[in-house]
Symmetry: C2
Subunit: 383 residues, 2 copies
């Protein structure tokens, strides 16, 4: 049932819920691993009940659990726990995102598992990691977005803070976990040994601050939100048009000249305030206002065509409908399909890792129904 990929033959036990852990396991599945999702009996992964739901199938759950098998196990029941232990005998990777301490209370902590399964790679994702003073605190995506600094540098200056619209706290942690897991699989070929990978969502937010830390520590200035403009290239940002907005990037003098002419504002070129990129950066808000007087004369759609013809880097601000319909995104197979017997066709984001050595199928194996693979899994692992 796994798709062809570099991780064919690898068995992943996914004991995780909602987002960070399930997304980790889904990327492994996209790379060809076989993923067995272990869920709580009755309701399963919490995200199975997240709206919108069609004929009992959650779009949220479907989009982060495609390609997996499901078995429902009560880990406080000895018989069910025995089934898990049998699966772990043949598994290569365990993914979990419980609060630190939960696996230990279930008798499934790394210290126990590494003795029984020395080749097992144990990947834990949690809000703050398994060490440190906040380790036991509850965390959610927005908690780590807030504590990790990104909210302090996103938004319009002077306005109340906003959440980044997708759960980058979970998703970044998921990708770092995948990197750790695949590197550990590579390492295991030489050492014969597994390891524990301890991913903290907060750590990953810090790693994603780009240069903000080095910049602050070298300059002493605390970075602030900049709305829709760039700190050191100008013009580079969001501009208002007759009907909506457009992104224009024209930082060097040649692009600036072309841009000023095509938007019908040649007077910008003789303005002392806009002579060079540093001059323009020093007058960023005035330049924006001036450009928007010219841009107000046409719609975004009209400007996009003019800017493309003139060779000026540009972008529309796509909503999700425009993303799903975009020709480039579709040509790259980034909207894939699954077919569910109850919900019908469910479309979702594809796999962005395009490798020349493997196909990138458009139709993917759907997310499993709760406990759907119980019989085949028990037949295979428990005889």
């Amino acid at each position: 049932m796994s798709i062809k990929g570099p991780l064919n033959g690898i068995i992943v036990v996914d004991m995780s819920r909602v987002l960070a852990g399930p997304f980790t396991a889904m990327v492994l599945s996209d790379l060809g691993a076989r993923v067995i999702k272990v869920e709580a009996p009755g309701k399963g992964d919490d995200s199975r009940s997240f709206p919108p739901i069609k004929n009992g199938v959650s779009a949220y759950f479907s989009s982060v659990n495609r390609g997996k098998e499901s078995i429902a196990l009560n880990l406080k029941d000895d018989k069910d726990k025995g089934i898990l232990l049998k699966i772990l005998e043949k598994a290569d990777v365990l993914v979990e995102n419980f609060r630190p301490g939960v696996m230990e209370r279930l008798g499934l902590g790394w210290e126990v598992l590494k003795e029984k399964y020395p080749k097992l790679i144990y990947a834990a994702s949690s809000g703050f990691g398994h060490t440190g003073p906040y380790s036991k605190r509850a965390a959610y995506d927005m908690v780590v977005q807030a504590m990790g600094g990104i909210m302090s540098i996103t938004g319009h200056p002077g306005e109340s803070p906003i959440r980044i619209g997708t759960s980058i706290g979970d998703l970044t942690a998921a990708l770092y976990a995948v990197i750790g897991i695949v590197a550990a699989l590579y390492d295991r070929i030489a050492t014969g040994k597994g390891c524990k990978i301890d991913i903290s969502m907060l750590d990953c937010q810090v790693a994603f601050l780009e240069n903000a830390i080095a910049r602050y520590l070298l300059s002493g200035t605390i970075p602030k939100p900049l709305g829709g403009v760039h700190p050191s290239i100008c013009p580079f940002g969001v501009f208002k048009t007759a009907d909506s907005y457009v992104i224009i990037v024209a930082g060097n003098d040649k692009l600036f000249e072309t841009m000023a002419n095509v938007i019908g504002m040649p007077e910008l070129l003789t303005d002392e305030r806009y002579k060079s990129n540093p001059d323009r950066c020093a007058h960023v808000w005035e330049l924006k206002a001036d450009m928007e007087r010219g841009l107000a004369k046409k719609t975004t759609e009209e400007w996009l065509q003019i800017l493309e013809k003139a060779g000026i880097p540009f972008a529309p601000i796509n909503d999700i409908k425009a993303v799903v319909e975009d020709p480039q995104i579709n040509e790259r197979n980034m909207i894939v399909e699954t077919e569910d017997p109850d919900a019908g066709v469910v479309k979702m984001a594809g796999n962005p890792i395009k490798m020349s050595s493997y196909d990138d199928p458009h139709v993917r194996v759907r997310a499993p129904h709760l406990d759907e693979h119980r019989k085949s899994i028990i037949d295979e692992f428990c005889r």
Copy 2:
């Protein structure tokens, strides 16, 4: 010079500039790979001149190129190109982020390289990928943020669009590239063959939309920005205090009851509008206004202590200074140090992949000066 890690012995040639490619190679270096950065003679990687600069050293450049070696090569010069080809004979991975077509014009396209070096893993990152109608267009982080949909779901409702404060367009692409590279290294052990990995920054933005695509396609409703609140849990978001803001998460009824009492607003508990989570979600802005009347009586610092004691999930909105000084972040070794002979100590974000099998050193090898390792590299690869 490499640190100990699962990729010890792997040689990476980093021909990339600025962010997506350099960040990819830095993560590989953090995993123990040896990274040789090939730069243009004279000025090197463009980011060497990005401010702030201390004694000739850019904080930006330093923070995404730690642990690498540098050699300056003019790839249009036959002698220098010969040096690159000699290095590639022993290399495992090539990382580049030129605009599609540039490597081909240099005679270094994948079709040529795979014949000469069948084991080479060639990882390209570009704005739109190497295929599709937009492939040749220039892209910048903000271009793919705009086209990939995230800007359409971030910000306060009705306000002008904002850029996410870090370059997630580049960084997400970098992590997906690392996953592809490490998976290809794993695969190569069995197949003996390299491959090309074609990463598009736009594709990676689509993969990071979380459930927005499936949600839109199942419900037909285009997701909108939600400011600082959560779409389906309430209260969950940003709240104003006497002096700044605080994040409070109290979605279930028990947490809501505790929260209402500790903020001195027990009247919320008898209000029909706030009886259950769905009720609260339907009156999210009224509840926010009511809670903020209570929260206005104390400072954020006071509320943090009260909320922690009461067991209610909370967070401060840290600025970069607070991040750098945070005890959890420091305990997790997420602020590491390098020592540059010219700039002195440069601190930066550490490696969030904490593996039980390897150390996580606090002092890291600094970013190289331009062409610093020319002699040792030529001595090693060209004799």
